[in-house]
Symmetry: C2
Subunit: 393 residues, 2 copies
């Protein structure tokens, strides 16, 4: 039978990273390709205690259907944590989702008709291209600079085109590790207000800052905007617990979309995560993750200096899980990937992170999921791969 | 700010049932309105043991990101259970989802462009109207008879219109409790094959048969079709664990859509449910649910005879959680709802379950979530409500 798939499915290539990750699954390969948190950062015993407590004390209640919005006390706890970071959020403005990936899908569903204009950072988070892509928008992109998006280019684009959404990962961006400066955040808020474009601010890594001072989300200057959060990087990604913060008029539609999509997020897990957060000092836990990731990031920066050619440029992120490498002009990271796999090291070629005109000489390195020893060994292998490719060309 | 929502959001009213459920949340009200399994049927202690075991033995592994398809051994276990029921399914044809509600969303995403034809049963599952509705299809409906859909009307409709999908709840349907006979299943398979329409067979209640013999899904006659399943009615609905069975060509697109929607289903819970199923005899557990629900259904049938007017018609389902009542012609169940709330009893007026030309004199009663005593008392109240309305009119 020839299946009559929807038009939207023709536009979406099967995830590039997904295919790449398959190649890199071989145990001999040191992989900087994935986006996995370090499993040593998962609070296994505390989760076990929380689960046991919730099932003992609440029993069948935590296994029943629940509300679409999510568990009230969990939403209040999240709102309270924003308060500590200087952002005034009400629990009613929070919807619990299956990780921040579902936030992308719900926002796409609620806002995007075919051909609607969406501005992405250049480069941008690959899975956001996929999620929004299924709603068939017209993507535009604006380059990232060291301190955030190129605001002049953004201003020009918004003046020239009708743009519904601007999607931005404002802290320790995936893939580049870049963080918007405080000034740039204000500037972006002003530009978006002027052009009635809605900010979709994704902040999965915000709590994993290991250098410098915390900077409030752009949403603190732009109450009408949408903000995503997640427990994936501070508790557990496998539990798929994220949330959307949005003003009430948007929230109403997000709830309708969430209900139609899967009724509500896993209630059992919501209760477990809430219990975990009640009974443990998550900030102490986060501090440990920060120290761990800083040491891995420091090692990767050092190993780039030690083993990659001097012409290679790279970001030095103040948090998060990724670092962005720019090879000398004219070098292709896709070609390098083939050499790298032979040397048993992997990364994600930059091409996957662009909605248009990719910079072929870029690549993403993940440092959170490898030990320092693996980072040293892996970067040595990457250096060898580059050398062999240069010899061949 | 005026938010520029997508066109699809204009078409979807906020869930009627959702609004109704709010009214019925008052503890004084006996509610036959919801669609909740009986919480006494949740295996709380066994889930606690399974969780503890999984976290102790597998630790951080079960908290990490995982594959989009779902946990392999769980998919194999599900495939194996189909084998016992005479349906040949490969684990690779199974995708783990957030309950069967997400199956609806993913199928909508993969197949439906605006104005595509979708045939629904009349009446049909409300949340399927909502989920598909967001993809803006053209709905058609075909009446249900006692032994399943009116096949002559289905044949005529498929001959006249181009129809992509036929959505059917083939056993103990929500809302009517109707089950397709074995003959009707074959007949539907033949009609759909002839017209190249894809069957979307939803089977959340199939295992909760308390009278009569098990009948294989239509999919056993129609390998190209899509079948949904869920652990919501046999383990826990709050855990949001369902699955789609589909042939590999469809599965490929479903996986792409699932990945874009939320990467993968809660891996922690997948492992817990799998462990529960490994360590317990779920069929013994299901047998208990069947006995429980049969006694509740029997009580409701008896109470209809005892307390409702003789002209009232009703289905006598052989399984599931719902029973469908048809009031005398000209009576409005929406009007009755107002009287019922005053008498402190609730149900869902039938109007919500139609995509066109609702039968205003119909209503859905849930029997799984009330004790026998509540059923007696609630039906007495419903009888009183009908009497008062008849007196007023």
């Amino acid at each position: 039978m020839n299946y009559p798939f929807a038009r939207r499915m023709n536009q979406i290539p099967r995830s590039f990273v997904r295919e790449i990750l398959k190649v890199t699954e071989h145990p001999d390969i040191i992989s900087f390709a994935g986006g996995l948190p370090n499993p040593h950062s998962f609070p296994v015993d505390a989760i076990k205690d929380a689960t046991s407590k919730v099932l003992t004390e609440e029993g069948e209640n935590v296994l029943q259907y629940s509300t679409t919005e999510g568990y009230g006390p969990l939403r209040e706890l999240i709102a309270g944590r924003y308060g500590l970071h200087g952002l005034d959020v009400d629990a009613d403005e929070i919807l619990i989702t299956n990780g921040s990936q579902q936030c992308l899908d719900l926002v796409g569903k609620v806002f995007l008709d075919q051909h609607d204009g969406v501005v992405m950072e250049k480069p941008t988070y690959l899975a956001a291209i996929q999620a929004f892509g299924l709603y068939e928008p017209q993507f535009y992109s604006v380059p990232l600079m060291e301190d955030g998006v190129d605001t002049m280019a953004l201003e020009n684009l918004l003046s020239a085109k009708k743009i519904k959404l601007f999607y931005s990962v404002t802290s320790f961006q995936n893939p580049t590790g870049i963080t918007y400066s405080a000034d740039k955040r204000k500037e972006v808020a002003e530009i978006l207000t002027e052009h009635d474009t809605i900010l979709v601010e994704d902040n999965p890594y915000g709590e994993i800052r290991f250098i410098g001072e915390d900077i409030s989300p752009i949403k603190s200057h732009l109450p009408d905007s949408i903000l995503f959060g997640t427990f994936s990087k501070i508790v557990s990604p496998g539990m798929r617990m994220g949330w959307i913060v949005a003003p009430s008029k948007i929230m109403e539609n997000l709830i309708t979309a969430k209900q139609a999509s899967d009724l509500h997020s896993n209630y059992f897990t919501q209760r477990v995560v809430y219990q975990y957060l009640q009974d443990n000092d998550v900030d102490t836990h986060i501090q440990k993750i920060r120290e761990l990731y800083k040491s891995q990031r420091d090692q990767m920066v050092q190993s780039i200096k030690d083993y990659l050619p001097g012409e290679v440029e790279y970001t030095k992120p103040e948090g998060g899980m990724f670092l962005w490498v720019t090879l000398p002009e004219g070098m292709s990271s896709l070609e390098l990937f083939e050499y790298a796999i032979k040397e048993k090291v992997a990364f994600v070629p930059g091409d996957a992170f662009y909605t248009d005109h990719p910079h072929h000489n870029t690549m993403r390195l993940n440092f959170s999921n490898s030990s320092k020893e693996e980072i040293v060994e892996g970067m040595q292998r990457l250096g060898n791969a580059i050398e062999k490719m240069q010899t061949d060309n």
